[in-house]
Each structure stands twice: as structure tokens, then as C-alpha cells.
């Protein structure tokens, strides 16, 4: 005999005291001023059991009204006026109407150079992406496919978004290190690899608004209030709702669920081996792990601790691509444990550029001197390196960095 609870909903329970905060989702917004008090706690819908199921069921009425935090006419006089220099230091945002664009310009060919130097290690030379980093080019006419490729050219509605995002967050792990002319050039190059402009194009704050993005017209304001809410706001069936039920899909067939802690750690595929997926791209792939484990390995031969500590700070610019310390693995760059004293280009499993491969076959070893030269001018010291890093100009920073790396062996 079925002992399922027969449950009834007393009329009006629960919902009556709810202050529905349904928000109007439309281009126009209601302009109601919030009332003085708002009901934030409503009656517990607790008494839905029959007496036989819960004979001592008690309606727990927890209705309470919280007074809104009071405003003060004329304000509280807290905070201080922001200085113009402070505002300009932080207010770097750019809008579709061009507000916020700095004066500057850059052409496609310059953009290619800057892009290859700063961006290609993750996004590929032509925006095609390395591993599962975001694809920036192509994908036109794929938005209705099963596997849409959402790129700047195929999806992004506004060019200003490209400038703003590069300016505020790129290169990843070394944000806000590019000059306006560089960003205009990169943006021009991204337009070029997306077939939006020709190779003779130069982008500037003057002609920025003339560029038309291919997918600009394919966005519209959330229309769930019209399209979905009426459809999904009807009393549903409770009994005899279908004749039979069949399972149409099992998740276990896929077997992609991590099961244990150990699996979580060991099953992480190498970056280059994993294809980008749509969900991945949105959930995680645009991020490099910015927080490499700052392992604190202290060895007898460690130089000046203050220098090592300073080096840890300098190393922040490197962590998006390089790991050090216990459990360090290869990422966009090879791990750097014991780098001083090891053969150049010798880390297993990392695909080096030609210059490194030649040094490896010659058995050349990283010394403090050669590493300092490389850090000062990576492309000058190792032509053809894939490392997208301009180098460290300050000699003290280089010394600190080497001291820091030596604290991880070598």
C-alpha cells in the first residue's frame, strides 16, 4: 500500500504575504521609487501536510518586516571627493559610442607584430587559438550550427568591447601593460583576421565608429517576460500526466564525471590535447590559472631571502604561463623548477621553438648570465621564441627573479 503523503495546499498560504519583486525586463524600466519598508521575510509555507502525516504540524509564522536602512537628507558626509587624476587612473572603460577611447592609432601590420609578440602564445598567430584558449577569428555562419564558433568576427556586436577588454585584461596575467597604439594595432589586426578590413587598414580613435561588426544586429533585449513567462505560468498536471515513461539518455554512458579527489588531480588533460568546447570556452577556457601555487621551498643554498621575496613579486607577470614549486607542470610555458643549471629546452613534454631545440641538442645549460640576458630581451637572446613577453628592463628585478627561480632548485 502506498504510504505517500497526500499533500494539500491550504488556499492562500505562503503566497499572500509575498511581496513579488518581479522585475520588468524591457528596454524601458519602471521608475518606481522603493517604498519605505520592504517585506524581506515571509510566512514559511510549512503546513502542507495532512494531520495524519504530521499530526503536530505547526504553522511557523516567521513573517517579519525589516526597516530599510535609513537615508539621510543631504547625505552622510562620508567619503571624499575623487581627484581628476584618480578618476583618470581607473576610468578606462570604453563604450560603443566611443566614449573613453584614447587618442591613438595602429595598423594591421603593426598589429600582427604586437599580436604575435603578446597574444599568439595563447590565441595562435591568426586568432585560431592554441589548445583550449579562446578562438578569436573565423566562425562566420556557424551560429545556427550544432557547434557554433563564437569569435570577435562571428559574434561580438561591438568593436569597442574588443578595445576595452584588451586594455583592461590582456595580455592575460600581465594586464594593463599595453599602450593605446598597441591596442589599436591589435584591434586592427583582429579585424583583419576576421575579414572585416583589408591589410592596409589603420584603426584610430577617429575612424573607430566607422567599423561595422558583422553580427551587430543579431542581439535583442531579453524577451522571456513575453515569450516564456506566460507559457510557464500555468497550473501543471499533478496526476495521470502521461501514459508511460522511458529513459532517453544516460549520463553514465558518457562517463565524464570525475569521481575521486585523485582523479580530479590526475585526470587533468594536457592543455594542448584538449579541444575547445563551447561550454568550456564560456566557463573557463578564457582564463589562465592566474594563481600558480606559490610554493615556499627553502633550500640551504638560497640567496638573500629579501631578494627571493622581491623575485616572487616580479614573477607574478610570468605565472599565467609558467609554474614553479611542488607539482609544477608545463603550461603555455615549461615549468621552471631547477631552470638555472638545466639544459636549455630540455623539459620533457614541452614543445620548444627551434632556437631552444638547437640549444638543447648542443647541451647548452642555463646560467645566471644567460638567463639574465634572456629575461632582459627574450626575442633578442632567443630569436623565434614563442614566449610572448617583452622582457624585464630593470636589472634589479632580473636579479630578484633569478634568485626566486633558484629557490626552486638549480
Amino acid at each position: 500500500m502506498s504510504r505517500f503523503l497526500k499533500i494539500m495546499a491550504p488556499a492562500g498560504l505562503g503566497t499572500a504575504s509575498v511581496l513579488a519583486m518581479a522585475y520588468v525586463l524591457a528596454d524601458q524600466f519602471v521608475s518606481d521609487i522603493p517604498g519605505f519598508a520592504r517585506v524581506t521575510m515571509v510566512q514559511s509555507a510549512d503546513a502542507q501536510e495532512t494531520p495524519e502525516a504530521a499530526p503536530e504540524a505547526v504553522v511557523v509564522a516567521v513573517a517579519a518586516t525589516e526597516e530599510m536602512a535609513p537615508a539621510r537628507p543631504g547625505g552622510f558626509g562620508l567619503g571624499r571627493t575623487a581627484l581628476p587624476e584618480e578618476i583618470s587612473a581607473w576610468d578606462i572603460d570604453v563604450r560603443p559610442d566611443g566614449l573613453g577611447l584614447p587618442v591613438g592609432s595602429g595598423d594591421v601590420w603593426t598589429g600582427e607584430e604586437v599580436f604575435v609578440e603578446n597574444c599568439a602564445v595563447c590565441h595562435g598567430d591568426f586568432g585560431e587559438a592554441v589548445g583550449r584558449w579562446p578562438v578569436l577569428a573565423g566562425g562566420r555562419d556557424t551560429l545556427t550550427r550544432e557547434d557554433p564558433v563564437k569569435t570577435i568576427g562571428s559574434y561580438w556586436p561591438y568593436l569597442s568591447t574588443v578595445y576595452d577588454y584588451i586594455n583592461r585584461a590582456m595580455p592575460f596575467g600581465y594586464a594593463q601593460s599595453l599602450e593605446p597604439d598597441d591596442i589599436y594595432a591589435i584591434t586592427a589586426y583582429l579585424l583583419y583576421v576576421n575579414d572585416i578590413v583589408g591589410d592596409d587598414f589603420e584603426l584610430s580613435n577617429e575612424n573607430f565608429l566607422d567599423v561595422e561588426m558583422p553580427n551587430a544586429d543579431n542581439f535583442f533585449m531579453d524577451d522571456r517576460a513575453d515569450v516564456e513567462l506566460p507559457l510557464f505560468s500555468t497550473e501543471p498536471c499533478m496526476e495521470g500526466c502521461k501514459a508511460s515513461v522511458e529513459i532517453t539518455m544516460h549520463a553514465s554512458v558518457l562517463d565524464v564525471t570525475p569521481d575521486t579527489e585523485e582523479d580530479t588531480a590526475s585526470a587533468t588533460p594536457a592543455v594542448a590535447e584538449v579541444a575547445t568546447t563551447e561550454v568550456v570556452a564560456d566557463v573557463v577556457a578564457e582564463e589562465a590559472p592566474a594563481e600558480a601555487p606559490a610554493a615556499e621551498v627553502v633550500q640551504a643554498a638560497v640567496p638573500d631571502p629579501a631578494l627571493v621575496a622581491a623575485g616572487e613579486g616580479v614573477f607574478r607577470a610570468c605565472r599565467a604561463c609558467h609554474q614553479v614549486g611542488e607539482g609544477a607542470t608545463n603550461r603555455s610555458g615549461p615549468h621552471l623548477n631547477g631552470v638555472v643549471g638545466r639544459v636549455i629546452g630540455s623539459v620533457d613534454g614541452f614543445r620548444y621553438s627551434n632556437g631552444f631545440a638547437e640549444a638543447a641538442s648542443a647541451g647548452t645549460v642555463w646560467t645566471e648570465v644567460s638567463l639574465a640576458a634572456f629575461l632582459a630581451d627574450p626575442r633578442g637572446a632567443m630569436p623565434g621564441t614563442k614566449m610572448s613577453f617583452r622582457g624585464i628592463s630593470n636589472e634589479a628585478d632580473i636579479a630578484a627573479m633569478i634568485a626566486y627561480l633558484e629557490s626552486f632548485g638549480g
Binding site: 503566497t15 516567521v62 552622510f76 560603443p96 551560429l143 584538449v274 564560456d282 590559472p289
Partner: protein, 428 residues
């Protein structure tokens, strides 16, 4: 039906270990505790002296900041390795199947970072308000603490929660299918008071919120919402925000997608139009089957999930009395009602709501019944205070297709077999 693996999963597969093995092993102790009525031999748990009953334990201050029992070590946030380029920084998931009530402990709240965790020194943190205001202002943390505060319990759900399930059942565990959500009590200053302090000009219709992290996270928020119920919060569950949740201060945007709740909040700019930045154009827009995309899909639709039993939390006690439970929430109000079915939707039963019911907060529901030991198809269906009823996944797909990634609030199905093991399935 096409294989969603082909569409979504292209990496190396994790080891083919039975996904239930861990859960069943964990349940072993529970089985031992549920003795049959006709106990033959005396229970050593009673007849033998347990060390904790005989010897003194640690004194006060053994853990100045308390930690859970060592027997709860398996209750942790988890990630899905194949989703991420690297496990060091990605998204992880709240262990909903290990929790009860409505409050998420601070340390179990899922994490989502776009540039890693910003380790902000509160003494060096500033919040600036600029743009279309009478007086651009800078606040220190101490300044913020001098404004009147409010306390509210709100859920925060990532717009991509359940996003991996659009093309079909993929992940076995409500932690993975529904764990991009948490529900905590916030203490903070109404955003309205800060904006009034700066004096929003009449042309100010939008607000840009910006974080201090390395992604420089930004989102545009309509002024009506900013003046309604948004908070600038510095406490969660009574303690300081955790670093991974935006310490020392974050924006709270009740009922709206989690990405807008900017962490490490350092700037608010008032403007006359939205900024259309990356996270509101290339991301967090809902691509429909016809190639058009919805934007500004801020509100989170009503949703529910059965947390127990579920794939990570099988039934380990055999037939008889059992507790089915889960959580429900809506970005539009409260959840006065949740329906539950154990036969795949032929017959539905109203669940029992328990615990306080706050607007835009998680709600707890129970369905207490006697399991007959036969296979079940479990579903829950939330009703919110506006009359909205949680749709099926197929109803959503009919309108949106399978490419939208975000805002998947469809009804979840767990198939439970005669051994009590649960699996993520889709049904007709």
C-alpha cells in the same frame, strides 16, 4: 538522439572508475548504523568503550578558527577537470548533496574567477563612484562601515549553472549539474545610499560595476535595479567575505546572474547607456537556435533540484522510510511550492517546504515517504511567487535550442535503481 559527448566533450577521458564507488564507500558507515531490528550480536559501538568516551579531548583553542570534523573531509568543493584548461583556476562546484537547510557555509561556496583570486589588502582598498554624479567620491573600507547596513539572505547562481546539460545528461552528481550556486546571509550597505551620497544626475540610467582583480571585471547594471535592492556587502554569514568571494567588498545583485555580483568591487560609474563590455556581449548572452542572441538576461528563472538521493548520494538503507530532499530558488521572489515525482512525472506530490522563506533565497523542501525498493525516476518542479512553474528541459530547448549555454533551469531527472544508486538521465 545525438551523443552529447561528441558535442561537448573532446578531451581525454577520466579513468573509467565507477562513479558510484566513492559514494557507496562513504555510505558504508551509514549502512552499519542502520541495524536490522533483529540484532543478533551485541553492537560493539555500544559494548566497547570508544576512545572519545574514555580519554580527554583537546581543549579550547585547539582550532582558533574552527574546522569541520575529520569525518567530513569529503565535503568539499570540486571541479570538473575536463572542463578546464587547468585545475588551478577555473570554476568549482558547491557540494549540494552534502548540505541541508538553506545556508551555504562560506568555505563551500562555489568559486568562479576570471583572473584568479585578488588578494586585496583592505587598508589599500578604495571604492570610487564617478561618472554622471554631482560629486565623484572615494570611500575607504572604514567609510563604508559608517553607512547604515542591512542583512539579507540571497542565492547567487552562475548563469552557466547546468550549462553542460543543454545537449543532454552529462554529469553524474547535483554538485556538478547544479553546484554553481550558493546561499548566504550578506551584511552590507544599500547601494542606493552610496549613490545618493554622490548624487546621481537625472541622466544617469546605468551603472558600471568594476572589480579590482586582474580581469578588471565589469558589468552594466540598470539604475532601477541599483536603487532597488543591491547591496555593497562586506560580510557573509557573519564573517568577512572570503577572498575567493570578493574580500573585502562585493556587489550583491539579488536574483540576478552571478557574474553581475562583481567581487573586489572598486569602482561604480554612472552613465546614460550600457557599456556592452565583454561579459555582457561575447559572454552571458543566450544564443538561440536561429542565430539570434538574447542579451541582458539578468534574472534567474525559478529552479529546483533533488539533492538527496542523487548520483553522489545514493540510497544506502534499503526499502522503508526515507527522506527525499532538495533546494529551490527563484530570482523573482519566493518558492511557496515544490512538486516532486518518483515515477518520472506520471504522478506529482507537493513537497513539504521547511525553513525560512526569503525572497530571492534558496528554499529547502522535503518529501518523506516509504520506498518500496523498486526503481524510481525522481524529479522536482519549483513554483515561484509570481506563478512561474519550472519547465522541462525539452520545453526550454523548444524555445531556445541547445546552444544558449546559460540559464538552463529545466527539470532535472535522477534514475534510482533497486540498489538505490542514482544516475543523471533524461526521460520521455
Amino acid at each position: 538522439m545525438k551523443d552529447p559527448l561528441v558535442q561537448l566533450y573532446k578531451g581525454a577521458k577520466p579513468s573509467r572508475r565507477n562513479f558510484l564507488a566513492g559514494a557507496l564507500a562513504a555510505g558504508g558507515a551509514t549502512v552499519g548504523a542502520t541495524m536490522a531490528k533483529g540484532q543478533a550480536a551485541p553492537d560493539p559501538a555500544i559494548t566497547e568503550k570508544q576512545p572519545w568516551a574514555q580519554f580527554l579531548g583537546e581543549g579550547v583553542d585547539a582550532n582558533p578558527y574552527g574546522v569541520p570534523s575529520e569525518f567530513e573531509a569529503h565535503v568539499v568543493r570540486r571541479n570538473v577537470p575536463w572542463l578546464t584548461a587547468d585545475a588551478v583556476s577555473s570554476v568549482n562546484f558547491t557540494p549540494l548533496h552534502e548540505m541541508d537547510g538553506i545556508i551555504t557555509p562560506s568555505g563551500l561556496c562555489f568559486e568562479r574567477h576570471h583572473g584568479g583570486i585578488a588578494e586585496v589588502d583592505p587598508a589599500q582598498h578604495r571604492l570610487m563612484i564617478n561618472g554622471l554624479v554631482d560629486n565623484p567620491l572615494v570611500f575607504t573600507m572604514q567609510d563604508l562601515m559608517r553607512f547604515p547596513r542591512e542583512n539579507h539572505v540571497y542565492f547567487l547562481e552562475c548563469a552557466a549553472n547546468s550549462g553542460m546539460e543543454w545537449a543532454g545528461a552529462q554529469l553524474n552528481g547535483c554538485q556538478f549539474t547544479h553546484g554553481m550556486i550558493h546561499n548566504v546571509m550578506y551584511t552590507g550597505v544599500p547601494l542606493r545610499l552610496l549613490l545618493e551620497e554622490a548624487g546621481v544626475k537625472t541622466t544617469g540610467k546605468w551603472l558600471l560595476a568594476e572589480g579590482a582583480d586582474a580581469s578588471g571585471m565589469t558589468r552594466s547594471i540598470p539604475m532601477e535595479k541599483a536603487l532597488d535592492d543591491c547591496l555593497v556587502a562586506f560580510k557573509m554569514n557573519g564573517e568577512a567575505l572570503r577572498p575567493e568571494q570578493g574580500y573585502p567588498v562585493r556587489l550583491v545583485v539579488p536574483g540576478w546572474e552571478g557574474n553581475m555580483w562583481v567581487k573586489w568591487l572598486r569602482r561604480l560609474e554612472v552613465g546614460d547607456q550600457p557599456w556592452h563590455h565583454r561579459e555582457e556581449t561575447s559572454k552571458y548572452t543566450d544564443l538561440l537556435a536561429d542565430g539570434q542572441a538574447r542579451r541582458f538576461t539578468w534574472e534567474m528563472d525559478a529552479k529546483s533540484v533533488i539533492t538527496n538521493p542523487s548520483p553522489q548520494a545514493p540510497i544506502t538503507h534499503g526499502p522503508g522510510p526515507m527522506v527525499l530532499t532538495g533546494v529551490a530558488w527563484s530570482g523573482r521572489g519566493t518558492i511557496p511550492r515544490v512538486d516532486v515525482t518518483i515515477d518520472g512525472g506520471i504522478t506529482w506530490h507537493q513537497a513539504r517546504m521547511s525553513g525560512p522563506s526569503f525572497t530571492k533565497s534558496m528554499h529547502r523542501f522535503y518529501y518523506d515517504f516509504d520506498w518500496d525498493g523498486r526503481p524510481m525516476l525522481l524529479q522536482s518542479r519549483a513554483h515561484d511567487s509570481t506563478g512561474y512553474v519550472q519547465p522541462t528541459k525539452d520545453q526550454l530547448r523548444e524555445i531556445r535550442g541547445e546552444n544558449s549555454i546559460y540559464h538552463n533551469n529545466g527539470i532535472q531527472t535522477w534514475a534510482v535503481n533497486e540498489r538505490g544508486e542514482a544516475e543523471n538521465v533524461e526521460i520521455s
